[in-house]
Each structure stands twice: as C-alpha cells, then as structure tokens.
C-alpha cells in the first residue's frame, strides 16, 4: 500500500473559496427560507450556473470545486473521481408544472402523471445523482466514477474510498469530496418537517442549541501517492493517515444516544492510521447543533479520545449536508496552515451534558494530526484522520 497525500483542494462554501478558519456565522436571512419559518441560511455567493446542470446548484458547486482541485494536476495517468452527494429535489416551478395538473381530489392521478413524463426534459437528468460525478470524470479523463450516497457522511466516505484506491495503486490520482445544495424551498421543507433546523442561529454544543443552520457547498481534494507528489515537487497540503466507518445499527433517523457508532468509527480511524488517542491534536466534530446529536458525539469523543480539543464549523458555514465531510476537511487544512485550533462559532454557553472539551474560541496551537467526523441519517458514520504536511 502506498502513502497518500492531499495535494490540492477546491472549496465553495458560504465563507468563500479559500480555506481559512471562519470567525463568524455566515447565516443570512433569505426570503424563500423565511416563508418556511427558517430565519437564516448559509448560502454560497457567486457560483455561476453550469451549462450541463441548469438550475442545479449542487452540480455547479461541484464543478467549480473540481476545477480548482485540478490546477497543477499531473498530465495523463490513471484518474478516478469519488464524490458524495445528496438528494435533488423538485423546484416550486416543477411542482406547479409537473404535479399540480395531475391532482384529483387530494391524490395524484398516476396514469396521467406517467403519460406526461418527458424524458427529454432536463429535470429527470438533474435528479440523477451520479450524473455530476460522471460528467466531472468525463471532463477530466477519469476511468473510475463513484458516487457515495450516505447522507451527511457521503463526502467523508468518498474521500476514504478514494484514498484507499490511491493506496492500492488503482489510480495515479483521485478527485474526491462532496457537494450539496439544499437551500431551496423543497430542500428546506425536508428539514423543516423533521424539525431539524435551528429557530435562530446555529449553536453547536451550546446549552440553547435547537437545530442546525443549513448551508450549501462543495469541496474536492486531489489525492496522490506521496512518492509521486514529492517527485513532481507538488505542494503537499496534508498527509492522509486513515479512516474508519461504522453503522449505528440503531435507528434510521436518530443517532445512538451514547454515540456507540460514532465511537466505533473514531476508534477504527485511529487503528487504520496506526495512532493512539494521544496522537490526535484536534477533532473537527460533526457537531450539527441538534440536541441529541451533539450530546451523543461528545460522549463518543470523550470515550475514545479523552480531553482532546474539539470544535464544529457548522455554526459558521452551516451544515452542508452531503458535502460536510469535504467542506470541513478543507477548513481543517487552515488549522494546519494558520497554527490555530478553531473555536466554535455560535457557542456561548457550553452544555454540561456534552462532556467533550469543546473550544469556544480559537487557541493558538499548531495541530499535527486532525480527526474529522461525519455522521449521516441511516446511522452511517465516518471519521477521517489527516496529518500536517
């Protein structure tokens, strides 16, 4: 197995396209969100629509991030693309155009609905989640294209699989990450009916937390064998050390209350990296800001990693859902570069029910090894471990 390094990153999140540690919340009022009772969203500004993905921000975000990750890439070679993604939803226009005409007395007339489905319309293509991965793979000459659909763990899962493929020498380099954009009426609605969104600001690990700030974004990394990158003189942003995945095997919609699956994923990541708890300098928590999730994760961190400093980026850039594992790993690179352990934007009153050592404010200390958590609906958990270059 070969050693793997991260040699480039493309990032699009509410805080921008340069991995720097966010120092404030990027949640802003939005008229569509307000109509659904959602006070703030963390939207990405200035992302041009991609011609292949009309009205699909996920695709546009992914393309922009992938293009940045390809800057300085080696010519030729065996390439693969691993991306995590989320649900595509109907737009309100599509609701009105495609569904309303088929409503009969509060139910859909399925026969007329099926008759009117038009395969030439771009909407069905947009709703095919793997299409973004395939088009990016085609654009960059990749022979492997894999799409992880593991809810909020999808991007982290993709990065782990890509790193393994590079380590196994299946590809010379991989583009890996995730993309998601749920800040549209039907996407927001999905979380509103679940009661998952905050009624105010995102406050991970805070006593008053009541849900998450929704964000959107994409991040794509270039992963290469260390020997190849060093031979080319490529900049090394981080060393890949390992990953661990698990399933809660508990409940499709709720995390294990004691964080059993989360703890398993972190313990496996440590083992995969050949490290012990004492080697971890900082944990980027999944830390969404939901009452149950933050408590379960903090119990798991305390159990596996002890008093390690922990924080969450979700109070700043929001929960970017399927993209979270990649967007936040990109922000972790800034911790290496800036020599700072980031605090938790939005956290003012740490919850004593969350026993992890959660940082309220930044701490000037350069981490050598970072562990980053991502947990998804369905109980899928993934922890990634990277080292300073």
């Amino acid at each position: 197995m070969r050693n793997v390094v991260l040699t480039a990153v493309g990032l699009r999140c509410a805080a921008g396209s340069v991995p720097v540690l966010p120092d404030r919340s990027w949640g802003r009022p939005d008229p569509d969100a307000a109509a659904l009772g959602v006070p703030l969203v963390a939207r990405v500004e200035g992302v041009p629509e991609h011609p292949d993905f009309p009205d699909d921000r996920k695709g546009a975000l992914a393309f922009a991030a992938a293009a940045d990750a390809m800057v300085g890439a080696p010519m030729g070679g065996r390439r693969g693309v691993w991306l995590g993604t989320g649900l595509s939803s109907l737009t309100p226009d599509e609701l009105v155009r495609d569904l309303y005409p088929h409503l009969r007395d509060g139910r859909f007339d399925r026969a007329s609905l099926a008759r009117d489905l038009d395969p030439s319309h771009p909407a069905p293509r947009r709703h095919v989640p793997e299409r973004v991965t395939q088009v990016i793979a085609s654009e960059y000459g990749a022979s492997i294209a894999e799409t992880s659909f593991s809810a909020c763990a999808a991007a982290a899962m993709s990065i782990a699989e890509a790193a393994r493929a590079v380590a196994r020498d299946e590809v010379d380099f991989a583009l890996a990450g995730g993309h998601d954009a749920m800040i549209h009426p039907i996407g927001l609605l999905s979380f509103v009916v679940l009661g998952a969104l905050s009624s105010s600001v995102g406050r991970p690990f805070d006593r008053r937390r009541d849900g998450f700030l929704i964000g959107e974004g994409a991040a794509v990394f270039r992963l290469e064998a260390e020997e190849d990158a060093r031979a080319r003189g490529a900049p090394i942003l981080a060393r890949w050390l390992g990953a661990g995945t698990s399933v809660d095997a508990h409940n499709v919609t709720a995390p294990h209350p004691e964080g059993h699956g989360a703890a398993l994923a972190m313990a496996r990541a440590l083992r995969d990296a050949g490290l012990t708890a004492a080697d971890i300098d900082y944990v980027n928590a999944h830390g969404t800001g939901t009452p149950v999730g933050d408590r379960a994760e903090s119990l798991a961190i305390r159990k596996v990693l002890g008093d390690v400093p922990v924080s969450s980026f979700k109070g700043a850039v929001g929960h970017t859902v399927a993209a979270a594992g990649a967007v936040e790993l990109a922000l972790c690179l800034a911790a290496f570069r800036e020599g700072v352990l980031p605090g938790t934007v939005g956290l003012e009153e740490p919850d004593p029910e969350c026993p992890a050592n959660v940082l309220v404010a930044n701490v000037a200390r350069r981490p050598r090894v970072i562990l980053s958590n991502s947990f998804g609906f369905g109980g899928q958990n993934c922890a990634l471990v990277i080292g300073a270059p």
């Binding site: 894999e146 999905s190 609906f377 899928q380």
Partner: protein
C-alpha cells in the same frame, strides 16, 4: 491480503425468488414478493419504498442462507449496497399541494400544506435506507458503504466489499444492490424490472467459491430481465452462481473455483 469466499446469495428478480429466479422472464415486478413474508418488519413498511423492501428482504434471505453469520461480531460485519435515490411516495405531498391551492405560493404552502406532510418524508427518499434498515435489523456495525451510480452501484458495492475483507476491515460482508424501476419506462426509455440480490462474502478459504475484485464495471450485468438499475450486476452474479456456474466475471467481480 486475505482470500475472500462467496458462501451464500439471495436473489429477487422478475424470474422469481432464490433458486426460482435463475430462469428467463419478461421485465416486470418480482413475482410472489410479499415483504413481511420475506423478513421485512411490518412496522417499517410504511417508511420503506418498494426498492428498500426488496433490498432488506434480500439481505435477510442471504443471511438465512448462511446462518454462521451470527458468530461474527457485529463490528466485524460489513454491509455494502448499491441503490438509487428512493423517490418518496408522491402521494405523501399530494394532500399538501391540494391544501395549498392554486396559484401555488410558498407562503400558502408553508401555512396550509407543510403541516400535512409526514415528518419522515425526507428520510423515505434517502438512497441509504436499505443500509440503514438492514444494519439495524441484523446488527451490522462494521465498515460499510452505499453507492448511487445507476447500474454501476451494485458492482461498486461488491468490489469494495471484497477489498474490505481482503484488507482486514471486516470478516463478513453482505454486498449487492436493489432497485425497483417498474413505472420508469418513460424516463429510461427501456423495459424495466425490479430486483435485489446480495452475496455473503467471508474471509478465508471457505466453501467452493473464491472471489476477486477488479475495477467496477457494468459489463456482465445484462440479465434479459429489463433495466434493473443498481441490482443489475448483483442479480446477474446471483443468477449465475445459484444456477451452478463456478467461473463467472461480471461487474469487475471474478467468481472462481480454486
């Protein structure tokens, strides 16, 4: 690297269930499929789409075929799934749209429609529901993955499962895929079917069949049973193996007798 063996397989396809599914058939639904009779808990049926029911039933059937799985610790059991996004039942939002009225406004939808939408509407649409439900039902806590790559999804699940065992991340892997595409003919432009198949893979030299993984591909996933989406390659492999073939290549998976 550890050797990997295939010890059991389940099969649900338009030709039938289990050994009965190895023959020819027209594209369409799985004949005789009754979710609760195939191990799917009744309490979850309302929050499962047809593809999820098929997938969970196929995991159940695969494990029933190799009872030794219970001796493997839960954290050494891996589950690897190819699946499409599960389109939440359109009927779930029909009452909300009806209550919103015409012209559609977001404000009206929020006020009158949203309260009528079931809370688990989003959850029902997730692609990883087979993995979520099956892992909880059978206590699989180990390495895992869910891939949403059309026909390629099942092949990716299988090849990654083989790697996971060979590299020592799990000792037992249940890997395959499920899809239910009947009704999608207008979108896909082809006859469609539904199907699910999962292979039980274990570490070491066990039984008569060994397995190796190459790069995942859709090659060899043709079944003549219509478009089966993520189930294509797993169904093709299960049909070959249950039909008695010992040397098979499909989807980047190589089954062989040592």
């Amino acid at each position: 690297m550890r050797p990997v063996s295939l010890v059991a397989a389940s099969l649900f396809c338009p030709a039938g269930i289990g050994d009965g599914g190895t023959g020819a058939a027209l594209p369409g639904p799985v004949p005789g499929f009754a979710p609760h009779a195939h191990g799917v808990p009744r309490k979850h049926l309302k929050t499962m789409t047809r593809a999820v029911q098929l997938g969970v039933a196929a995991v159940y059937a695969a494990l029933e075929d190799w009872p030794t799985w219970r001796t493997v610790p839960p954290d050494r059991r891996g589950l690897y799934v190819g699946a499409s996004p599960q389109q939440g039942d359109a009927e779930d939002i029909a009452p909300a749209l009806d209550a919103t009225g015409v012209p559609f406004t977001l404000g009206g939808f929020a006020e009158r429609g949203v309260p009528l939408i079931p809370p688990l509407w989003l959850v029902k649409g997730l692609s990883n529901n087979i993995l979520g439900y099956a892992s909880a039902q059978f206590d699989f806590q180990g390495d895992n993955g869910n891939w949403c790559d059309g026909r390629l999804g099942g092949a990716i699940a299988l090849t990654n499962a083989i790697h996971a065992i060979a590299e020592g991340r799990v000792d037992l892997a249940v890997a395959g895929g499920a899809d239910a595409l009947v009704g999608a003919e207008a979108i896909l432009g082809a006859p469609c079917g539904e199907g699910a198949a999962f292979l039980v893979l274990v570490a070491g030299d066990v039984g008569k069949t060994r397995v190796r993984a190459g790069l995942p591909t859709v090659d060899g996933g043709e079944t003549g049973l219509g478009e089966l989406g993520a189930a294509s390659v797993p169904v093709a492999l299960a049909r070959h193996w249950l039909g008695g073939l010992m040397e098979v290549r499909a989807g980047g998976v190589h089954l062989f007798r040592p």
